[in-house]
């Protein structure tokens, strides 16, 4: 029994040490994680949701087309050096939709432009003044711009004989008519690739604009790209074959360029919220610790210690998983602190009862834990149920703020069960086992007066 406690203590200390090491300082890189991941409401940024018009897409290939749209949007955001943005494909109301979160950008109009509500790449040539204008040709008497629509879906990257990457492509029927007209007049000149009004740029920041060497009829290759650029471009060309307009559906009618859902938070509001949360959390924690110390004395101190372990481990989990912290999430964290004490209170109250009933300290601690366990288990499971339902609700579009709270509360309550059952118990057993403190007053109980027969 004794040695088991020692092992548990070593385990707790190791866990605590590791958690402390990983969060101090908070912005140190641990397993590729730096700092806490903050949600939009704390950091500022934009969240946009559009529905897709997939009516032009061959049934069965929607998933693929949406992945293409996602790739293109991600590319464009990455190109601006914004990290931590997320683009997700969702199904909403039987329609595909795309949710885009861009932290740290303040201008909603610019963000929309950046997301760009088109995915098709356009080829451009230089006019006499050096301006880039769409490269056009005539097919069936109609003037068409050469775009990624006219590629076959089999664009791929291979490594040529000299070890340099080659991008191999093939035109579809329309492409086969357009390409010779355009390439034949551009021999020795550049052909640039545009996404919206922005040229496509390579890793080095230079626009990708290959020089046309000869007339291209049905298939060709682009040389001189870096491997990453070539792969990126082939991905975009494959994705950009189909135009997926983004907007929203209203009563079965598609309205392009109008978002379904928009959320923008100014970074200053986020900073203000962080400061206020820290103050609130600090005050709450100090009052909590004071209460436990004054009311429960020695076990209260033990509870404070295990609450310390709880706080540090929880922060480490938030950082390493990582859990995106939102303002309601912080509220969930603070609330879970209050509830974490609950399990300790349950146990200590039980212990006091047992001590008053005249049991020995060791027996009272064990009885306190054993008898309090069913109550702790049953009561926390109801909170878990609430959290799971909330996580489901939060995964739905209109309730984005919800999941942050539910996830932090869920993790918090689970961890609080662990700290109460394992950490507090081990500490208390060791203190009692070492016979360091025997005075019952230290446990918040007036010693029991007993009457016995004189011998």
């Amino acid at each position: 029994m004794r040695s088991r406690n020692i092992y548990l203590l070593i385990f707790i200390l190791a866990l605590f040490g590791f958690a402390l090491w990983s969060i101090v300082p908070l912005d140190r890189n641990v397993f590729g994680r730096e700092g806490l991941r903050l949600g939009l409401d704390l950091k500022g940024g934009i969240y946009l949701v559009y529905q897709a018009d997939t009516s032009d897409i061959e049934p069965g290939t929607e998933d693929e087309a949406m992945r293409g749209v996602k790739d293109v949007i991600e590319m464009r955001i990455d190109a601006l050096g914004i990290t931590e943005s997320t683009v997700r494909i969702q199904e909403y109301g039987g329609k595909y939709s795309i949710a885009i979160e861009i932290p740290g950008i303040a201008d909603i109009e610019r963000a929309k432009e950046m997301v760009g509500l088109f995915t098709v790449l356009e080829f451009r040539e230089q006019d006499a003044e050096g301006n880039w204008i769409p490269a056009t040709g005539t097919v069936n008497g109609e003037e068409l711009t050469l775009t990624s629509r006219y590629f076959k879906e089999n664009t791929y990257v291979t490594v040529g004989q000299l070890g340099s990457p080659l991008l191999i492509f093939e035109w579809d029927e329309t492409g086969q008519e357009l390409s010779p007209q355009i390439t034949s007049r551009l021999i020795g000149k550049q052909l640039a690739i545009y996404l919206g009004d922005e040229p496509l740029r390579g890793e080095d920041g230079h626009p990708i604009a290959p020089v046309v060497r000869e007339t291209i009829n049905d298939r060709g290759q682009i040389e001189g790209l870096s491997l990453t650029d070539a792969q990126e471009l082939s991905r975009l060309l494959n994705a950009g074959r189909i135009d997926v307009p983004l907007g929203k559906w209203v009563d079965g009618e598609f309205k392009p360029n109008i978002s379904l859902y928009e959320w923008k938070v100014d970074a200053t509001l986020g900073e203000d919220s962080i400061q206020k949360s820290i103050i609130a959390a600090g005050i709450g924690i100090v009052l909590l610790l004071l209460f436990m110390l004054v009311y429960y004395r020695l076990p209260g101190l033990v509870a404070c210690l295990s609450l310390g372990v709880y706080g540090v481990v929880l922060l480490a989990i938030f950082k390493l998983v990582p859990v995106t912290l939102t303002l309601p999430g912080v509220a969930g964290f603070i609330l879970s602190l209050g509830m974490a004490v609950d399990a300790n209170v349950l146990i200590f109250e039980r212990m006091k009862e047992e001590l008053r009933a005249g049991r020995s300290l060791g027996a009272a601690v064990e009885a306190g834990f054993n008898r309090a366990w069913t109550a702790i288990r049953d009561s926390n499971i109801t909170t878990f149920i609430a959290c799971l339902v909330l996580i489901w609700l939060g995964s739905e579009l209109g309730a984005r703020m919800v999941s942050g709270f539910a996830i932090t509360l869920l993790i918090g309550v689970a961890l609080s069960m662990f700290t109460a059952i394992v950490v507090t118990r081990t500490f208390l057993r060791l203190i009692i086992g070492s016979r360091a403190v025997k005075n019952l007053a230290a446990y918040g109980v007036t010693p029991v007066q007993t009457v016995r027969n004189t011998k």
Partner: protein, 309 residues
């Protein structure tokens, strides 16, 4: 020993008064706002913005200006010094910029949109439906859990039902209070309100379960032939714990309420009310319901003039 069970008629009466006030408020709200609660952007759709004015302007001034600009229907809530949350119909971010520029010029103040939020009506309608479903699922799941946890007791279904009635009681009183705040102070409910409610549901049940757990233990120890006595001593034995946990939870929530950001002010209010009402209902309502059921004293539930104990 305090007689919590003996005073049950009073406790029921107090709760019934609150519930009736809540119902009246929901009806008033339904007539005035065409909804039992003032629905926020998440549930009604539209655009909601937090505007920061420097120097600060008065809420009345802002309301007048908004009315002049054609937004008489706007809901305006104060959110800290110089900040207002306004909720209007769906307008784009470009239109929002235009609106705030006009407001700034008329009110002679620097205006900044620090939070802009647009939800399409289709999304909002679905969210509202989901929120109701979420609460029902949570309540049913918890009831089944309690029935399972108390499966070894005679009539486990009874325990689950009593816990759920106490829970519905808590939710109803909070909904009533927010309904009053809705037509009185323009407080809107959003997805976070539902979140708070569900957290309260978890918390309130948590308290009830601890007392039920003690009743379960005392029943198996046969401490008294009278079920009412068993229940009362269980409540008294766990009273220290019930009050202490409520106190620790209240302390942290109060800190959040007083010092936390304006964005989650009403969310924290739900938690605060929930902690108080949840503690009350677990000590004064749920276990008493068990006794009423056991003894078939259904008349105790009715607020009658003739009081016999």
């Amino acid at each position: 020993m305090i007689d919590f069970v003996g005073k049950k008629r009073w406790f029921f009466l107090i709760s019934e008064i609150f519930v009736v006030i809540g119902i009246i408020s929901l009806v008033i709200s339904q007539i005035q706002l065409e909804a039992p609660l003032r629905l926020g952007t998440d549930f009604a759709g539209g655009t909601s913005m937090t505007l920061q004015f420097s120097p600060a302007v008065e809420q009345n001034q802002l309301r007048e200006e908004m009315a002049k600009l054609g937004y008489a229907e706007a809901t305006i809530q104060k959110a800290g010094e110089g900040n207002f949350i306004i909720h209007i119909g769906e307008i784009t971010s470009a239109e929002a910029e235009e609106l705030t520029e006009k407001l700034g010029a008329e009110l002679d103040s620097q205006v900044e949109i620090i939070d802009y939020y647009l939800v399409s009506e289709t999304v909002a309608a679905k969210t509202a439906r989901n929120a109701v479903i979420a609460i029902i699922i949570a309540a049913v799941a918890m009831m089944f859990y309690i029935v399972w946890a108390f499966r070894r007791m005679p009539k486990p279904f009874r325990w689950g039902t009593c816990a759920i009635i106490a829970l519905i009681h808590d939710v109803f009183i909070i909904v009533g209070i927010f309904s009053i705040l809705g037509w009185l102070a323009g407080v809107e409910i959003n997805a976070l309100f539902i979140t708070g409610l569900l957290a309260v549901v978890g918390y309130s049940i948590n308290n009830t379960v601890v007392i039920f757990d003690r009743i379960r233990e005392n029943v198996s120890r046969h401490i008294s032939p009278d079920f009412a006595v068993i229940v009362n001593s269980s409540i008294v034995e766990t009273l220290g714990r019930s009050l202490n946990t409520s106190l620790t939870t209240l302390v942290v929530i109060l800190a959040l309420f007083l010092f936390g950001g304006a964005t989650i002010h009403y969310f924290v209010l739900v938690l605060l009310l929930g902690a108080i009402i949840g503690t009350y209902s677990s000590i004064c309502i749920s276990s008493q319901l068990l006794v009423v059921w056991e003894k078939r004293e259904w008349r105790a539930l009715l607020p009658s003039a003739k009081r016999t104990t």
